[in-house]
Symmetry: C2
């Protein structure tokens, strides 16, 4: 979480002149985003988030991500609109890096969500899945269970055991998840990363779903399972709050009822979600020096969740 | 520049409840401050900066700093007010760390200031010096030339030469600055660090002077000399823009004319200012690993400024 690039007031004023957003009054670099830099801007016409994409590879996907925000926003989903420049472009290049201007939305990310909040988040996710079904663009996920299992295989048993002696257990478990993975569940564009950090709320109302940079074509029930794993446990994954999970699913079904097949698949989908976060955390752990300023997130937090889903099956979602 | 501490929405809402500022609508960690964490908050009553002081030592000085903001703000200087809690306290403790709530001010820090902007900054500094003269508290500076020369002595000739072969020249130059340092110039509370980063402007108007954490009792003309060294050169210190300097001093004198003695002292005071930034940058350079993510600032940028002031004497300020 950092601002990787220095943008001066004059650089920014020059950039903003390409948009019909009024005159710049304030800008602050904000500590959000892992692979991009973000600033909160205020102009005479409102507030905006300016994002600079620091990794070259993301630029190719920007039309998909930024167009999705416009599509969902037009369908009244609580997501920020993309502000297009005076030529209609969704992003511009500054010093070889893509930048996009996005609507600022108020709200706070809950760290200890209530049932009412979980219900609202479920409903917002269901609304988003429905609205995204007629989004004309597609994007392949690179986070299917097979992909994430490969990441863990590349880490290797010894390195995984170095993080925690129990962590290599994930390799055979992951192989079973991949083998049993359901195909042909109803699809849409899915958020894929709807952690509380990526949801803004005022009271019980969702005012914003943000950070769609993992969005891809995928199974809607998988997105719900990701959200369940992200919202319904304490940080360490030791305690699941079933009431939160029930509220999340009830909220979701108020907008989009699950089919029997989707409901039956939830335990495995949730295990697949955990597999993915175990893989990304293990990879980050091994790539981050022990003495780095960044706090490494423990992959075991999601191995505990995975074990919960394996042990409880369908009753985890009752 | 970072946010060192995680504050959740619930933690923050709990903290804000101790202040009469309304209900929280948004908060973002902002990438400002070196030894503290900062958040931009929006409530139903306005916007505020929340600062958490990460270093224990600063807490003892907080009443001085926060009271100064109130004093200057009451005198219509463009500085943010301290927001006191419902018990009247200027700061509170959270998890053993002091936090303070400060008024948010609009404006942008110019990276290539104009003459009109330099004039306004000079006037704002003069206004501040006058307003601070009846501030009842004092604080000893730890950044007198003698102190900063000691820092360079502790670095040692070899280490300084490792940064740049010409850098050890600063030791005998610094000794002469210390020997000739003028005493008994008219004093007040001085900002001591009024770089463009610490000034917010809208057009040619100063909307905010911020970051008073080096403020101390000191010679007003020294503060003007610091500001001259900070505003009137390009980044590397190779080119001085005399018109910017003239505008800065004219603006200052429009509020507070310099005495003959102060004017005569400016060349040496400016060299003392450069000595200080050479010392702090050399120390940071030697303490920051070469491969750190933080960009190290080159002490030579201020050795070049110092040479300019030595070579040009009084004409640097004409």
């Amino acid at each position: 979480m950092a601002v990787y690039t220095h943008l001066g007031a004059e650089d920014l004023a020059q950039l903003i002149a390409h948009y019909d957003v009024g005159r710049l009054l304030s800008f602050k670099g904000i500590a959000e985003g892992v692979s991009n830099s973000n600033w909160l801007l205020e102009t005479t016409q409102g507030r905006f988030i300016l994002t600079m994409y620091e990794r070259r590879i993301e630029t190719d996907d920007l039309p998909f991500f930024l167009g999705l925000l416009d599509h969902l926003s037009a369908a009244n989903c609580p997501v920020p609109r993309t502000i297009h420049d005076c030529d209609g472009a969704a992003y511009r290049m500054v010093d070889g890096k893509a930048v996009a201007l996005i609507e600022f939305l108020p709200g706070l990310s809950p760290s200890t969500p209530t049932e009412a909040q979980a219900r609202s988040v479920g409903a917002a996710l269901g609304q988003m899945h429905r609205a995204a079904q007629d989004y004309p663009n597609t994007r392949n996920s690179t986070l299917e269970p097979q992909d994430t299992l490969e990441i863990l295989d590349q880490c290797g048993t010894d390195a995984l055991a170095g993080i925690d002696p129990a962590l290599p257990d994930i390799l055979p478990i992951g192989a079973r998840i991949v083998a049993d993975w359901p195909e042909h569940l109803p699809g849409s564009i899915i958020h894929s990363d709807l952690f509380p950090d990526n949801v803004l709320m005022l009271g019980d109302e969702v005012t914003g779903m943000i950070d769609f940079y993992f969005a891809a074509t995928g199974a809607m029930a998988y997105d719900l399972a990701v959200t369940h794993a992200a919202w319904c446990f304490d940080d360490t994954g030791e305690a699941c709050d079933p009431a939160l999970g029930a509220a999340l699913i009830a909220g979701y079904e108020s907008l989009r009822p699950l089919s029997d097949e989707e409901r039956a698949a939830l335990p495995l989908l949730a295990q697949g979600a955990c597999l993915r976060f175990i893989a990304s955390r293990a990879q980050d752990w091994l790539e981050t020096p022990e003495d780095a300023l960044v706090r490494r997130k423990d992959p075991m937090d999601f191995l505990r969740r995975l074990e919960f889903y394996r042990a409880n099956g369908q009753s985890a979602f009752a």
